[in-house]
Each structure stands twice: as C-alpha cells, then as structure tokens.
Amino acid sequence: MPAVSKGDGMRGLAVFISDIRNCKSKEAEIKRINKELANIRSKFKGDKALDGYSKKKYVCKLLFIFLLGHDIDFGHMEAVNLLSSNKYTEKQIGYLFISVLVNSNSELIRLINNAIKNDLSSRNPTFMCLALHCIANVGSREMAEAFAGEIPRILVAGDTMDSVKQSAALCLLRLYKTSPDLVLMGEWTSRVVHLLNDQHMGVVTAAISLITCLSQKNPDEFKTCVSLAVSRLSRIVSSASTDLQDYTYYFVPAPWLSCKLLRLLQCYPPPEDGAVKGRLVECLETILNKAQEPPKSKKVQHSNAKNAILFEAISLIIHYDSEPNLLVRACNQLGQFLQHRETNLRYLALESMCTLASSEFSHEAVKTHIETVINALKTERDVSVRQRAADLLYAMCDRSNAKQIVAEMLSYLETADYSIREEMVLKVAILAEKYAVDYSWYVDTILNLIRIAGDYVSEEVWYRVIQIVINRDDVQGYAAKTVFEALQAPACHENMVKVGGYILGEFGNLIAGDPRSSPLVQFNLLHSKFHLCSVPTRALLLSAYIKFINLFPETKSTIQEVLRSDSQIRNSDVELQQRAVEYLKLSSIASTDVLATVLEEMPPFPERESSILAKLKKKKGPGAVSVNELEEGKREGGELNGGGERGGDSSAIASTPSPSADLLGLRTGPPVTAAAPSTGSLLVDVFSEAGVNDDGFLSTQVSKIYNTVLVVFGYFNKKILHIVPLNDLSERELVTINEQTPQGVFVMAPFLKMFRALTCTILLGLGMALLENVDPNPENFVCAGVIQTKAQQVGSLLRLEPNAQAQMYRLTVRSSKDTVSKRLCELLAEQF
C-alpha cells in the first residue's frame, strides 16, 4: 500500500464526528450539520482549488453526514476528482463515496466509468482491486454494460495478480446476479472452469462461487467442472491437515472450499465416468470416516468446520440418492447427532433426516430413530428444533407407524407452541387421512384434533372430515355416534359444533334408535351450543334443524317453536333471520315428500386432491412437501375416498371457504359454477329446466321444488308488488338478486312478433318484469313478478311464445296457486 503522506487520520473529520457525538439533542445535531454543510459548500465554491487532502476530508464529512441520514446533493464532482488521484487513501475515499452515494446519474456515471477504466488498465493491483470492488458494490446496469466484457479478460489473463483475480471473479458474480443477460461467458467458459486448477486457493474459492452460480443457469456449458471439482476435492480431503498451510482452519483443510465444491457438485447428477465417480465416493466415505475420528481440537471452530463439510457431503449424498450404502451411513451419522449437545447440530440433523426420509433407500434407516425424534419433540427446549422434529415425524410416517406418530403428535399438540400449531394440525389431519386403515380411527383422530386445538383447525380440515364421512357409508353411523358423544362435553369448540351439526343433521337418524340419543336429545344437545356460536355456525345449525324435521317428524313442533322464537325470526342478522323464516315456512307448508326432496341427504363429493394438502403446501411454500409424499397421497387418497365414480355434483363445502357453504344450499351465497348446476343454486336448475322444456310444463320433480321455492319467496316479500327491473340481468344474477333481496319472480310469455313493443308495454303494465336472455328462443317473452292479493302474495312466472306463421301464441303461466294462474291466464288472453 502506498505510503500515506499527510494526516493519516483527518483531524477535522475527527473533531466533527466527536462534535456530533457530543450533541445533546437531535436539534443540536442538525444545527451542527447545517453549519458544517455550509462550510463545505463555501469551501467547494471557493475560488482557490482545494488540495487532495482537504478534498478527501470534506468528502469524508459528507459521507458521514449522509450515513447519519441526511440528504447530500453536492460533492459528487469532488469525489469523482478524487478517483484520478494517485494516492491510495484519496482514491479509496472517492470510490467509497461513489459506491455509497452515486445512483444512476448519467453525466457522472460516464466520468466514473472513465476513471474505473483507467484504474482497470493500470498495472497497479491495489487500484485494480479498488475499481473492481466499486463495480461490485454499485453493481448497476450501466456498470455491467460498461465492464461485463472487460472483467472476464482480467479474470483469465495470465499476468493478473492472484488478489485481482479473486476480486474479478467476485465482481463478475455480482454483475451476473444483477444482469445475467449482459455477462456472456462464451469463449471464456473453459478458461474459467480451469481456474479450479489454480495454484492459489483463494482464487479457486472465489472462482467456484462464480462457477456454481453460472452452472445453475446453464449446467451443460460447465459440465467439465465436475471432474475438476472432484479431483480438487479429493486432493483436499486426502491432504494432511498441514499441507495447505494458510488454508487450514483449526486442523481442517480448506473447509470453505470443500463446502463450495460439494455444493457445486450438487448442481449436477452423479458423474457417469466410473473413475470420477469412484473417486468421489471415496471422498465422501473419507469425509464420513473423518466424522468418526476423535476431534483433533476441542475448539468449537474445529468441530464447526468439520461438521459443515459433513453436512454438505450428506446433502450431496441425498442429492445423488443412488448409493444405498452411503445413504445408510449418512443416516447413522445423523442419528448420532440427534442426541448431540449442540442445539444447532440437532437442528441440522433433523433437517437433513427429513430429506433422507423421502429416499427409498434410507427410509427404513430413518425409521429406526423414531423414538429419539419423538423424544426430541417432547423434551427439546428450542422451538425451531421441535418444529423440525415434527417435520421429520411427518416425513417418516408410513402405514406401519402412522398410529403411533399421529398419537404422539396429537399429545404434543396440547403443549405445542402457538406458532406451529396450525401446521401441526394440518399435518395430523393429512397423516390421519393418508394412512387411515379404518375410518373410525380417522374420525376419532380428527375429532380429537378439534377438541385439543380447535382454534387452529382450519376450515379445510373440518370440511375434509365431512367430505370423507359423507363419501363413506360405513363410517357414517360411527361418526354420528362419536360426534354426539363429543358434543356432550360441557365446553366444546365451535368447529366441533359445526362438524356435529352437519353430521347429526345428515346422519342423526343412524343413532336415533338408542334412547340415549333420541332425536329430541340430539336436538337439545345441538341447541344448547347454539347461543355460544358465531353467526355462520348458527346458520349451519339452523340448516341442521330443518334437516332434523325431515329426518324426525316428531321433532317438528319443538323445532318450529325454536325457529319461531323472536331470537331467530327477528334476529338482527339478515342471514339468520332469513333462514329461520324460510325454514319455518318450508316446514309448515311443504308436504313431507317435498321436504324429503329438498332436504335430501347430501350427495357424495367428487374426488379431488385433498384441500388440506394444498393448504399445507401453500403454507410451507413449494418444495416442502416431497414428491414422494404427493405420489403416496394420490395412491392412498384414492383408496380412502372410495373410488372416483361418484360425484358430478359439486357442492360448495370444500371449494368455497365462505361461511355460507351450506347443508341445504337452498339459498345463500354466490352461485357456484355456471357449468355444474349444484344444489347450491337450486333456482338455476329450475329456470334452466323450464327454459329447455319445450312444451312449457315442468317435470313433476322440478315443479315440486319449484312450488316450494315460490312459496318461500311469496312469504318473504312483506311489501311486494313492486317489480324489479331485471331486464338486463343474466339469469344467474337474477337468481342472486332474488335471494338477497327477496323480490317476487314471475315468468310470463308469448306473443306476436310485430307487436313486440306493444306486448312489452302490456306485460310491463301488468307490473311484471321482463326477463331477457332467459328463454333459449329470443322471440319468447319471459316475465316474473309477484301478485299481491289481500290475503297473500303470489309469485308467478309467465311465458309467451308467439308463432308468427300460425298467427298464434301460447301462454304459459305458473304460480303457486292454481286459481291465480287461471285468472292471470284469462286476463292476459283478453289483453291479446
């Protein structure tokens, strides 16, 4: 380094900094800085040129002020001037200022680039290094454009000093990371790869970082590096600890370089060349052997360095996944670490084992450590280690040990940290589903899960248990019984109430035979939880009640009483109120077979990937769930859900997490999908069928529901007969509107083509709304409305089908009362 001439420490700067440090308050500091800035401005403005020293000093002060958090908008020029100085310190400060303060400012960048270029072409290695560091620190696109071509030349040139080569390699790496498109290795590739053979270990270390990064992008070009890396590695591994002198760190030869080499090898598949492969396996074995040797030093640095290499080697072994022998050895080695004193080691061991568990060769070997891992889960003090232990348990789980692991995880859940509970819950749910041999066990597990960690059970989990119960006939009775028992606990979680409400609503009849769980007892049990629940749960419970009326006619009066009570029928929540009113009317008006149709048991759910698994994946990010497990999930999942032949009817349970996912699906929420009409949008069904039916009459089955629906509507419109202008709404929107703001619907139809406008007027004059694009035949008129009579409101639908050739029309009127239909028909016939 060139001798520092004047003022090694700049005194003015030191005084200034100590002044700032001594300031009593922020205000005093700002005052001092303002004063200094004014001083510097007057100095820079001053007529007489400043010498290098004072320039350096003032630039330093500016830098300090900037680092204190104040804006600096001058002094850049002076800093650039410093770059052309011949003194090391001045140049250094100049570069420092530029790398901290200069952003892509066009005019200055050119000057700076010129200065850098000069330094790069100079023969002075310190100047070259400074310039390279500056490029790497700024790393902007402009810099990359200017120097991306130059730096590789410096890197591979024969006469470049080693230290400059190191800087060049790292600088190139930085530029490659910021703008990979500008750094084209091309012709330099092979020469860069051959840097691995360099005499100087520092150069090799720097180069290998660059090569690793480059080979991740285009592995083929750098393929040759594998054999070089292997030979380099074997030379290091087999060297005696004293061979490498400067590069031996606490008796471990070149640990950083070894780690980097191993990491580079992880970018490539196992070498095909037998000799190379043999050599590599030999290296890995040596590393594993060395781990067994007694430590050469008690210092923590020694073991850290050794273990770093070991772990890198193990991840390489896992990456290759082709040497059963090595895998098992690695697994055993990790097993030793599982009980190590060092927390970090235990953590790393668990983490590596997680990946080992997914390899078919070592899965069994990993399983032998199950007791240790369970123990770690229970006794470990560090939460992150416990989390890893839980991950490992999850990874090592298979059919043989599922019950044990699930039980352990469940028991751990009670004391688990809040931060990992949700993930644990998901994992338990997945394992229970994946390895369920008998479904009663599955149901037990999930209910336990809800009981222990109800708050952390996401919707997906309880949706899933309901899906499975519904799709499996054999478990329904058991499920009903279990939830019934679970609900008897004095305090149970809301999720439990949800599951209970749903399952009893569907399958309560299966346990009704037992006097201890007679329909009334079931109902009372559910209703005892009602008041403690949130609105969505209450809505679900109301649906369960109406299902009870269908299942057990004897409970009808009790339930109607409940629905009729003010707290339901006048509930401030619109959703609950509407359900109560609708269900009450439905139960009192509709005949039993209508009820049975509307409240039919839910159809089985279609097969799909478990939503829980999807959630876990989302939570952990891609890659966390191993491929192996996914495959297994598919295999086992298919079996569990009893074949994919069922379905076709997509209900909203699992796919829409909205609280309105509903048993009945009669009302609520957005219509699910246009393609698959579901029970969730019953009305859509009605309309589409009505439209398709050419003879204008509805099939008996549909009409039944249809009637009910209209009845329900009729009763909700307290102040009707104002007609909604629905003309521009599509069919489905119409339905939605109907549901949200109960309005009357009335469909009406036909007439002569030429009198279309006239017809419209007549129909609208009736107080009905014309629905366009409802009927497949655009000539037809379809209307909907509510007729308000003194006694009640009657919803009516109307269709007018004109036939121009025949000069005839057909009028179809449908309403809930046949007298009304008839009268309407007569009325309209007169009009036309």
């Binding site: 922020k26 004063k35 800035l37 004014a38 403005k45 908008d73 001058f74």
Partner: protein, 436 residues
C-alpha cells in the same frame, strides 16, 4: 383515563415513572423511548400510538413528559393535564430541567399522587396544593389540627381554589392581557390566515373572599348595552368591540352567569393564575407588514430584499424584533446590508437572522442580501419557505380592551376603590409568516 406518566431526559433515560393502572406494563416506558425519543425520523405528532397504547407527550426544553393510556381518552384533557403538570412543577421548583427534576423527585411523586388518582385528574391548583404539599417538610412548619382540617374542608369544599382568612395590608390586583398573533400572508400582501390567541393572566392579592367582576369590550355585551340605549351611539361601540370566537375560563368563573348574562364573575384564587383564554379571527391589527422581494440571478445567485413596515401608533414602541429569512440549502456565501439593526447569516439554521431592538410605529426599514449558491445535481427547486418574524408590542392586536374589573367584598371593610389595579397589554408574535 391516564394509565401512567413518565418523564424522560433528552437521552431517553427515565427520570420519573408513575404507573396508575395495571394495563400499562413495564415495556411501555421503553416503547416510547424507542419509538419516539430515539426515532429515526423526528416524531412530530404529540400523540403516538404504539401497540394499542397511546402516548401523549409534551416537551419542555430537553425534558419529555409522556402520559400513557390504553383507553380511548379525551386527548385534550390529557394535554390540559400535562400543561397543568408543567405549571405546577414550575411553581414549585422553577424551570423544568433535568437537574431540577432529579433534585425534586420525591416532591414530584408526591404531587403526582395528589393531582392524579387512578388516572383521573384531581385538584391541580397550585395555590391549593401548596397548602398541604410543601418543600420544607413537616418539621419546618408544624400544622395544627385545625389547620389540617381547614385544608381538608377547603380542598374538598365548594371553593377549592381559595382558602379563607387571607389578609393583605394593601389590596392589589395585576392584570395582564397576553396575546400572540399568528399570520400567514401571501407575497402580494394578501392575508391567507390570521388569528390571535390570547390569555388574561391575573395576579391577585386581595383579603377575604372577594367577588370580582371582569368586563371587556366583547361585541355581544356591547351590542346588548347599545340596544338598551344606555351608552353612546352604536357606530362607535361597534368599532371598539371585538368578536371573540371562543374562550375558556379558569374554574373559578361562574359559567352559569356567563351563559346567561355573559358577565364574568368569580372569586379569585390567591396569587397568579390564568383567568381566561380566547381566540379571535376578525379585525386583527397586524403590527408588522413584511414585503419580500426575491430574485434569482442565474443558477448560482439569489438577491433578496425585505422591507418591514410597522403599523401602529407612532407613540408605541415594538421590541425584540427578529426577521428570519430562509436561505436555500445550497447556499455557499451571503452578503447582507441593512440600515437598521443587525443581520447575520446563520448557517446552522439555514437562514439570515435580522434583529432590531426597538422600532416605533409607522416606520419602515429594509434589508438586502446577496446569496451565492453552489450548483447541485439535485433537480428539485428550492421550496422557498416563508419569512418568519418575532416581535413584542405593547398593545393587544385583537383589539381587546379591559373595561372594568370590580371587586366586592361585603364582609371586610374595603371597597372597589381601595384596590390598586394594574393593567398591561402585551402582544407577541406567534407564527407570523409571509411567503416569498
């Protein structure tokens, strides 16, 4: 309600920490230090919300007073309390400084116990407090049982701010009208916003339990009297009266009487207190007019000329006049010429400060400066902050006049005429700015 009260020094070290409610944890002290005192950006809001805890702070020189609460309190009440707390401390040991607080910490805790109870503010009248919280200690002034019971009955009684049996040889009354006038003016001389906030401070040394009545030229009162036809013609009284936008009173003023008759009557506390506070926005007498002229000569030079004109009776003298002319952030040199007073470029404040000791009414004076600039690569234009001004004038810029202050004491034998009364008007500048 206030959950706790902390006092910090400028470094953020806690000098006083008094927690009144359990919902304030120990970490609240640190939260304020980290997020406000040591904040990277200067915190300008006096209310800071950190983790659902509200911190209300005021700063006196280098001392931070912070009230903490978790509840949704009336912020105005909290600040009123903090100001009162400052007044009380000043009355007890003078200037609020780190040293004074450290020397008097026992006293401060005692005061805090007295004026805040479970976070609810209590009697914070200095006069009343001084009767039972003393700095001398009990030994110095032994209090008899009667005295103690007297204190109790007084403090808990109807007139908590005055004790009975006060006697003075000379009954004296000092009345100060202190106003601060705030202005924002456009470069063309248009008033953008102006208001006066004033205080009526009293110092009373009166015997017994006198009943006082204070009268001023409040427009509503004058108009009412004008209508009654008792006083002179309405045209004159209209000019003389002022419209008060809003006002607040000391607790001794009978609000019911003010509401019904708009008369301000009260039994005064002994010693110094603030009788009322008010604000006016109409017909403000602006004591000074600032006429700026800024010319940019190229990129590296700026010429500034500022004329100030005094706008009041020539017989009056304004004092402590200070004009602050901001300079651009890239100023590298300044030359100033002024006819009157002294002017200097203060780099640490980025401003030219021009000071004039005295100036009579209806005069004008000017300053001109040449500012040299350093070219920067910053494209932003200079924001041209307004020119601000400080002064003190011996009249009330709002036009407020004290019409009378009557004292009635029926039990003792002195009348209104025997009381010596002093009235003084002081108008100060608040934020008095002119854009340039």
């Amino acid at each position: 309600m206030i959950g706790g009260l902390f006092i910090y020094n400028h470094k953020g070290e806690v000098l006083i920490s008094r927690v009144y409610r359990d919902d304030i944890g120990r970490n609240a002290v640190d939260a304020f230090r980290v997020n406000v005192i040591h904040a990277r950006q200067q915190v300008r809001s006096p209310v800071t919300n950190i983790a659902r805890t509200s911190f209300f702070h005021v700063k006196r020189s280098n001392i931070w007073l912070a009230a903490v609460t978790k509840q949704n309190v009336n912020a105005a009440m909290v600040f009123e309390f903090l100001y009162k707390m400052c007044d009380v401390m000043t009355a007890y040991f003078g200037k609020i400084s780190e040293e004074n607080i450290k020397n008097n910490f026992v006293l401060i805790y005692e005061l805090l116990d007295e004026i805040l109870d479970f976070g609810y503010p209590q009697n914070s009248e200095t006069g009343a407090l001084k009767t039972f919280i003393t700095q001398q200690g009990i030994k110095g002034q032994p209090q008899t049982k009667e005295e103690q019971s007297q204190i109790t009955s007084q403090v808990t009684g109807q007139i908590g701010w005055r004790r009975e049996g006060i006697k003075y040889r000379r009954n004296e009354l000092f009345l100060d009208v202190l106003e601060s006038v705030n202005l924002l003016m456009s470069p063309q001389g248009q008033v953008l916003s102006a208001h006066v906030s004033g205080r009526v401070m009293m110092k009373s040394y009166l015997s017994g339990m006198p009943e006082c009545k204070f009268g001023m030229n409040d427009k509503i009162v004058i108009d009412k009297q004008g209508k009654g036809g008792t006083t002179d013609d309405p045209g004159k009284s209209g000019k003389q009266s002022i419209a008060i936008d809003d006002c607040t009173f000391h607790q001794c003023v009978r609000l019911s009487k003010f509401d019904s008759e708009r008369s301000i009557s009260f039994i005064p506390p002994d010693g110094e207190y603030e009788l009322m506070r008010y604000r006016t926005t109409k017909d403000i007498i602006l004591p000074f007019r600032v006429i700026p002229l800024v010319r940019e000569v190229g990129r590296t030079k700026l010429e500034v000329k500022v004329v100030i004109k005094s706008n009041f009776k020539p017989s009056l003298l304004a004092q402590k006049i200070e004009v602050r002319i901001p300079t651009p952030l890239n100023t590298s040199g300044v030359q100033v010429i002024c006819m009157k007073g002294k002017a200097k470029y203060k780099a640490s404040e980025n401003a030219i400060v021009w000071k004039i000791k005295r100036m009579a009414g209806m005069k004008e004076s000017q300053i001109s400066a040449e500012i040299e600039l350093l070219p920067t690569n910053d494209k932003k234009k200079w924001a041209r902050p307004p020119i601000s001004m400080n002064f003190e004038v011996p009249f009330a810029p709002s036009g407020l006049k004290v019409r009378y202050l009557k004292v009635f004491e029926s039990k003792l034998n002195y009348s209104d005429h025997d009381v010596i009364k002093w009235v003084r008007y002081i108008g100060r500048s608040g934020i008095y700015e002119t854009r340039c």
